[in-house]
């Protein structure tokens, strides 16, 4: 069954939006405007460019459409998607504020480097949604890309907010659910651990970057002192002077190295946020399971009441039993009427339970299919990220060897 699902999803991939449309976030611009309470505010707007990819036979390039969106609109889109598709691991947005940065990078969210990295992150988000077999078919998403005015109103008209579950309800479900699905419990556990391990990793990486930066930059001091020293030396002078130059090169080389590494950190961050998306699916499942259990419980108690009324025995101690003992029994007509009402409710409840069961099974089926898809994507992406990290380390080593070999040659001429 799993194979079948995967197959069908990959078949859908072929006609997903990403194949029909080129999507880029090409520019970021700082803007000033007035917010809801008429306060001056500064924000960044991002230019989304789209272009339809025509079938090759026509051979003509379609014109580029472009529109501006700000981060809060991306947020609205993502909220809409996660409420509307609770069984889907919805791609996360890049961070709102720079986090896990090492000291040289600014934590200011107007910082040009940060804005640039967020631009890349937002583009990545759009591409992820556009290549998702289910999400790419969403109308609201399509108009996010293509329709500048009136989009917000359109989202709000869908009434998605009404469908959103309250946090309190979700918390309730977490603690009260009696028969949680083992697979989802494990998945929830995994996403908790994934989140904690990646955030730990990012924290330490930022510190590692800090220290490495220090090691390289302190070497830059050799550049200066060698050059000053060379002034008083005869035979050694030239060698010292040019070795000093290589030390400057060495100190400067760390800037590019760490800038490149920041991209790796962003790749990891995406999966840090994916962990939260994964947990949202688990939470939704818990909620549904809780609903189901409540309905089943209600039905059982009604059935019991009905039986008590019909046989006249009170199996369990209840207030109702007490009152009937104290004030005498109802007459048969009243009892008949009560039984009838209960029987109707039972039938209704049974149907509800049936549909909830069905709904739950559907949810599990489609959620699990998407989770499998997510796992595959995750393994592929992270493997690639780790390879690129290794490649970065290798190129850092080679640069280091190069610089020190040059310096050695200068020293040998002293």
């Amino acid at each position: 069954m799993l194979h079948e699902l995967l197959f069908s999803s990959s078949k859908k991939m072929e006609d997903c939006l990403a194949k029909k449309m080129e999507i880029t976030v090409s520019e970021a611009e700082k803007r000033t405007g007035r917010n809801a309470v008429n306060m001056q505010e500064t924000y960044t707007a991002y230019l989304i460019e789209t272009r339809a990819i025509e079938s090759q036979s026509e051979g003509q390039c379609a014109p580029v459409d472009s529109l501006w969106r700000r981060y809060s609109e991306f947020e609205l889109l993502r909220n809409y998607l996660s409420v509307t598709y609770p069984h889907i691991v919805v791609p996360p947005l890049p961070e709102k504020r720079a986090d896990f940065v090492w000291h040289k990078l600014s934590a200011d969210n107007m910082d040009p480097d940060f804005v640039e990295r967020r631009r890349i992150g937002l583009e990545n988000f759009l591409l992820r949604v556009a290549s998702h077999p289910v999400l790419c078919q969403d109308k609201i998403f399509y108009s996010f890309l293509t329709q500048e005015g009136g989009w917000k109103e359109m989202v709000n008209e869908t009434g998605f907010q009404l469908k959103a579950d309250s946090r309190l309800k979700a918390l309730n479900a977490t603690f009260r659910v009696k028969n949680p699905d083992k697979r989802f419990t494990e998945l929830k556990h995994y996403s908790d651990e994934l989140q904690s391990v990646i955030s730990h990793l990012l924290r330490v990486r930022a510190r590692v970057a800090d220290r490495l930066y220090g090691v390289y930059k302190v070497h830059g001091n050799y550049g200066r002192v060698f050059s000053e020293w060379s002034a008083i030396e005869k035979e050694m002078g030239d060698g010292l002077q040019s070795a000093g130059h290589h030390m400057d090169v060495y100190a400067a080389s760390i800037d590019d190295i760490l800038e490149e590494e920041e991209h790796y950190a962003d790749q990891l961050k995406e999966y840090l946020f994916y962990a939260e998306a994964l947990r949202a699916v688990c939470r939704k499942h818990e909620l549904m399971q809780y609903d189901l259990e409540m309905a089943a419980q209600d039905l059982t108690s009604k059935k019991q009441q009905c039986e008590e009324l019909a046989t006249g025995t009170v199996r369990t101690f209840s207030l109702k039993g007490m009152t009937s003992k104290l004030f005498g029994q109802e007459n048969p007509e009243q009892r008949e009427a009560k039984i009838k009402v209960l029987e109707e409710q039972i039938q209704e409840g049974e149907e509800q339970l049936k549909s909830k069961n069905l709904e739950g099974r559907d949810f599990v089926k489609s959620a699990w299919a998407d989770i499998e898809r997510f796992k595959e994507q995750k393994n592929h992406d992270l493997k690639e990220a780790l390879i690129s990290y290794a490649v970065m380390q290798i190129s850092m080593c080679k640069k280091g060897i190069q610089v020190w070999t040059n310096a050695k040659e200068c020293f040998s001429k002293m």
Binding site: V208, R211, L386
Partner: protein, 399 residues
């Protein structure tokens, strides 16, 4: 109870003597095969010999085998000082004695007293800040041993100092303390008076070349001080980097434990970071043990040199003062008195000795720094080559 400070002369090892014959270098330099670090010292000697233009070396001194002595009054370290020589001034071809830091210090003072016109190589600093460095730790003792070895080698290489009588005694005496005691009286007889009375006379003008040396030394020691601080700072940064790396690697392992398909590449990254830790540790160790001590030696060296320059100025000042005094009385006596002539001789001798020593020092310095800095570059290259294991471990487990 503590072991005696002075050990009996070791019996020359028959086998090593044979080998010495076999391994004689073209210029007749015997090879020390008993030393555990013989290959590297052989290399050093070869390089030195090249630079000495085939000059025959006939005196070899090594400091090794530090031993800790604990007795009721004090705890201290002694080092074995081994001498091999063909010089006629020595009764035996081989000596082995044990000396402590104090003895080296005594030797240096004696050399300074008896050879005031020469540049005496520096000893490693005597005092270490208590609590910061453990005087009896293996690293400290080893660093000091290397510095003491260097100190004796520098004296050995010196055409004048190596023939000094105190040096001879230091290398050979079974009981140095006894010699130290009787030496008090002996010295005042044989040595020239070392104390110069300048009486507040200010030197009229330092000859240009010595003024230049003085200026050079000021800048040189300033720059070396800066390099020393930079090197220490780098080591500190490296050690802090190491602390973070040690935490960084295992996080990848933890993550690997959560994953199925990614477990192998994550473990691979973790292993690479672990490998990086080992390489980094070795690099900063090498820099601490090999780089810093040489810088220190040269900082101290330039201090010794400044002292000799000062002494030279004093001798010249004395001469100038006497000359002036004579000039006042010149009308009475046309002849320049002999003690003024003697004084002039002394200035000229001093200048000649100092110039020769300075030249020798410049030469050594150039060689030492070339070797030191090339060594630094080599260590860094080796570090990156070790870290390059990313290529092997990582990429193979990833692809």
């Amino acid at each position: 109870a503590f072991s005696s400070t002075c050990e009996t002369v070791e019996q020359p090892n028959a086998q090593s003597l044979d080998l010495r014959g076999l391994l004689s270098l073209p210029n007749g330099t015997p090879v020390d095969t008993s030393s555990p670090a013989s290959s590297s010292s052989l290399l050093n000697r070869l390089q030195l010999d090249d630079d000495l233009d085939g000059e025959t070396r006939d005196l070899f001194v090594t400091v090794d085998d530090p031993k800790k002595h604990v007795c009721t009054m004090e705890t201290y370290i002694t080092y074995r000082v081994t001498t091999k020589t063909t010089r006629a001034e020595f009764d035996l071809p081989e000596y082995s004695v044990r000396r402590r830091y104090q003895d080296f210090d005594w030797l240096r003072n004696k050399l300074e007293e008896s050879q005031p016109t020469h540049l005496i190589p520096p000893l490693p600093e005597k005092f270490v800040v208590k609590g910061v460095v453990d005087r009896f730790s293996e690293e400290f003792v080893e660093t000091r041993r290397k510095a003491l070895d260097k100190f004796l080698k520098r004296i050995t290489d010196h055409p004048v100092l190596s023939f000094n009588e105190h040096f001879n005694v230091f290398l050979t005496a079974k009981d140095l303390n006894a010699y130290k005691k009787q030496g008090m009286a002996l010295l005042s007889k044989m040595g020239e008076s070392v104390k110069y009375v300048t009486g507040g006379y200010k030197l009229r003008s330092r000859p240009l070349e010595f003024a230049a040396i003085g200026e050079y030394l000021d800048t040189f020691s300033l720059k070396l001080g800066t390099i020393d601080r930079i090197a220490q700072r780098i080591i500190k940064e490296q050690l802090e980097y190491l602390v973070e790396l040690r935490e960084y690697g295992p996080v990848y392992s933890t993550w690997g434990g959560l994953e199925v398909e990614l477990s192998e590449p994550l473990e691979g990254v973790s292993a690479c970071i672990g490998n990086c830790c080992t390489a980094l540790e070795e690099l900063s160790e090498d820099m601490t043990e090999d780089f810093l001590p040489v810088l220190r030696e040269y900082i101290l060296y330039s201090e010794s040199m400044k002292n000799v320059l000062k002494k030279r100025d004093q001798v010249q000042a004395e001469y100038e003062a006497k000359l002036e005094a004579v000039a006042l009385k010149k009308e009475d006596r046309p002849k320049v008195p002999t003690d003024v002539e003697k004084c002039q001789d002394r200035v000229e001798c001093f200048n000649a000795d100092l110039k020769a020593d300075m030249e020798r020092w410049q030469n050594n310095k150039r060689q030492d720094f070339r070797q030191l800095l090339m060594g630094m570059a080599d260590k860094n290259i080796q570090y990156y080559e070790k870290v390059l294991l990313w290529e092997l471990i990582c990429v193979s487990s990833l692809v």
